[in-house]
Symmetry: C2
Subunit: 271 residues, 2 copies
């Protein structure tokens, strides 16, 4: 598979990288189709926001140019972009002259069952709760042990995703997806001000739905609200939208708003 | 500087390592003197505990043998050991046949000012609060963005360390040290059941002090208790013990229990 470090083909990087030492960096997982990165502006905007909050001295133009060239070579599949604070001295203090390291990895498009899209998925109820850290909330940073622990809780392929809640029990997201509810006629998704990853598909969906006249709300979501929702679905930038059909004893129908959004976003990702 | 990957000299590792992708691993920072790792049993015990909690399939004997050989070559300084879950497929699920990767880096002994030890240090009051995550609390894992953010808050060399508190405002630790108080005749250190790193020097100190008839207590510590403590000090496995002299407007004397512990642990580290 294709792999670049700082713009050049490479299968290895320095053992002194701060991404390895501390998870000191960011990443993006980008759908690539016909040689082009999908939702590019959203991915770049999230990187810009993350770089600002982590004080990473990022050249966004350079990252964009490299990504475009990489995707053109990859053709079809997934591009994973990691940005780290480069090589470490020992200790947490960042070197004054830190240079951001760019790592690009290519993968084939994931082969998810068509049934996930058509009939919907079952959620595994993860016991791993997300810690509340406003300084990192929303970012797709390289500290992902909570997701690793949550994903290790189940191996049954009948569950395509896991539900993650915060320390107070509120509903937050999937392990690798964002979560939406249709409740009282509104499209509702958890606020990600204390934990969670603000997905690019989530942002795209909120904007498009609002433009369609669907009332959209971003706020804390209680577990009881999830259970009484009329529709529930997951989204991410690779698979688009999966209806949620089941969580333990609770079942939801696949509803009309989920289907409307699926139709639009399938066309967007396929175009 | 000396660098090994999986037992062999190497300056690079795979771009697909899960330590880089997710911070999926552990580390230890070990004082090396006369070719031997100090507090070895404590470091190995913490690795064993971390491996158990992160489900890392660790061969502790192999790690120990490699570390001993590495330290013999290094002679004097610091050995940093990182253990990761090896190479990643894309996605959080760990491969069924994951193999732990061992990375060893050698550094010179840090050159801290003698005054830190003798006169004590000033603490910077970090605004970065530690998130509460019982599943990771106590471990020295590779998700260290909170420490990176906290350490980036000050550059004034007059502050040798920073004070970290949890989301509720309780006192937890330093950015790279554990914290002890002498309060009402007891030696008190924060419980690390929700956040923080359980240092090997902290464990050593609790055991030795108890053996000396000093009452030791491990529990939640409020900020007000820090301010009214009779003595405050920091410890880690590299520098031993630094008295804390000042935090903003508040000052503490360097007291007799701190001096007694310093004398013992200087001898231990020098022996």
């Amino acid at each position: 598979m294709l792999a670049w470090v700082d713009g050049r083909p490479a299968e290895a990087l320095s053992v002194r990288d701060r991404g390895l030492a501390y998870g000191d960096g960011l990443f993006e997982t980008i759908a690539v189709s016909a040689g082009r990165p999908r939702l590019l502006a959203r991915h770049l905007a999230r990187l810009e926001e993350g770089s600002r909050r982590l004080h990473l001295p990022l050249s966004l133009d350079q990252v964009e140019q490299e990504l475009l060239t990489f995707c053109a070579q990859l053709g079809e599949g997934v591009a994973k972009l990691m940005l780290t604070r480069g090589d470490a001295l020992r200790g947490y203090a960042a070197p004054a002259d830190a240079k951001v390291r760019r790592i690009l990895l290519g993968y084939p498009a994931p082969a998810y069952p068509v049934a996930n899209f058509e009939q919907g998925v079952s959620l595994f109820p993860c016991a791993t709760r997300l810690a509340e850290q406003p300084l990192l909330a929303g970012l797709k940073h390289l500290n992902r042990l909570e997701q690793v622990l949550a994903r290790s809780e189940w191996s049954d392929p009948a569950c395509a995703e896991g539900l993650m809640r915060d320390q107070s029990g509120r509903v937050v997201e999937g392990v690798f997806s964002n979560l939406f509810l249709v409740l009282d006629g509104q499209l509702l998704t958890p606020a990600l001000s204390r934990c969670g990853v603000a997905g690019v598909m989530r942002a795209e969906m909120l904007e498009w739905a609002a433009g369609q006249g669907i009332a959209t709300v971003v706020r804390d979501v209680e577990y009881a609200e999830l259970l009484r929702a009329d529709e529930v679905f997951l989204c991410n930038s690779l698979y688009g939208i999966w209806p949620v059909r089941q969580l333990e004893a609770h079942a939801w129908p696949v509803g009309p708003i989920t289907r409307k959004l699926q139709t639009h976003f399938r066309e967007l990702l396929d175009s």
